[in-house]
């Protein structure tokens, strides 16, 4: 039995630190407690500045705060990367191609989603 990660773990991190939604809104400079509630329930997406403010506040990377969303985005990158690998290989060997394949290989190792 396996579950996909939640779209957001904001509520968990907020409660671990015993902050109220109002306090978090104040700390990250968001509108109000209702805005934080919407972020936590996934009804609204935070801006990049807000996401980074949340990372700074909770001391957890954005990828962990929005684990489900990160998985979706990562899978899209990985699927495009496999296409790019094929294109780079087809174009022939060059120093740039080797560097690209190395970077894509590292992406592959990190994600374990496709074979390089």
């Amino acid at each position: 039995m396996q579950s996909e990660p939640l779209q957001s773990y904001l509520r968990m991190h907020r409660r671990r630190h015993a902050f109220s939604q109002e306090e978090v809104a104040f700390l990250i400079g968001a509108g109000s407690a209702a805005t934080i509630a919407r972020y936590e329930l996934g009804r609204r997406e935070p801006s990049l500045d807000t996401a980074l403010a949340l990372e700074a506040l909770y001391g957890a990377p954005v990828a962990e705060l929005f684990a489900g969303r990160f998985n979706t985005v990562e899978q899209s990158v990985v699927s495009r990367a496999s296409e790019l690998i094929a294109n780079v290989r087809a174009a022939g060997i060059s120093p740039a191609a080797t560097a690209k394949l190395q970077a894509l290989g590292e992406l592959s190792r990190r994600t374990n989603l496709f074979a390089s």
């Binding site: 039995m1 396996q2 579950s3 996909e4 990660p5 939640l6 773990y9 509520r11 968990m12 409660r15 671990r16 630190h17 015993a18 329930l41 684990a67 998985n71």
Partner: protein
């Protein structure tokens, strides 16, 4: 990255306590949900299930306990919701909970041990109950988490 997500619930006099937990060791959410009517708590439980999409729903095994009629009805209702949502349900007898916490003399000892493992629960830990006082509803949050701990510690029948 995948995990198994559990939702444990335990009836209170005015609703239910809940804990959402991801294996191996992540306490995701916890709290007390109150409802004046069956419809209200049903709605609240459905919202929790929709939000957290748990794989497993854990409740106390109410058979042979001294639970009141409302609690028994509540647990039957939970069972129905779990069936409709195709959730795995696990019923943990109280005996198994105490087995998972060797040395615990009562529920408060179990709660203290859970607070050591999950310090974020400390603000919710009620004072030790005196013989002449009724139980604080917050203790049900710890009871719910103890059900999950007992399930993870032992292999119990799943329906």
């Amino acid at each position: 990255m995948t995990c198994t997500r559990y939702l444990a619930i335990d009836p209170t006099t005015a609703g239910f306590a809940y804990v959402v937990f991801e294996s191996p060791d992540r306490l995701v959410d916890w709290g007390l949900a109150t409802g004046r009517s069956d419809a209200e708590w049903t709605h609240r439980l459905e919202s929790l299930i929709s939000l957290y999409a748990p794989e497993v729903l854990i409740t106390e095994d109410g058979t042979g306990t001294r639970r009141g009629r409302r609690a028994v009805t509540f647990l039957e209702g939970v069972q129905t919701i779990a069936l409709l949502r195709s959730l795995w349900t696990v019923h943990i007898p109280k005996r198994k909970v105490f087995e998972a916490f060797p040395g615990a003399k009562g529920k408060h000892d179990i709660a203290e041990s859970l607070v050591e493992r999950f310090p974020e629960l400390r603000p919710r830990l009620p004072r030790k109950r005196q013989a002449w006082t009724s139980e604080d509803a917050r203790m049900r949050i710890f009871d719910s988490l103890a059900l999950i701990a007992a399930h993870l510690a032992t292999d119990i029948h799943t329906s």
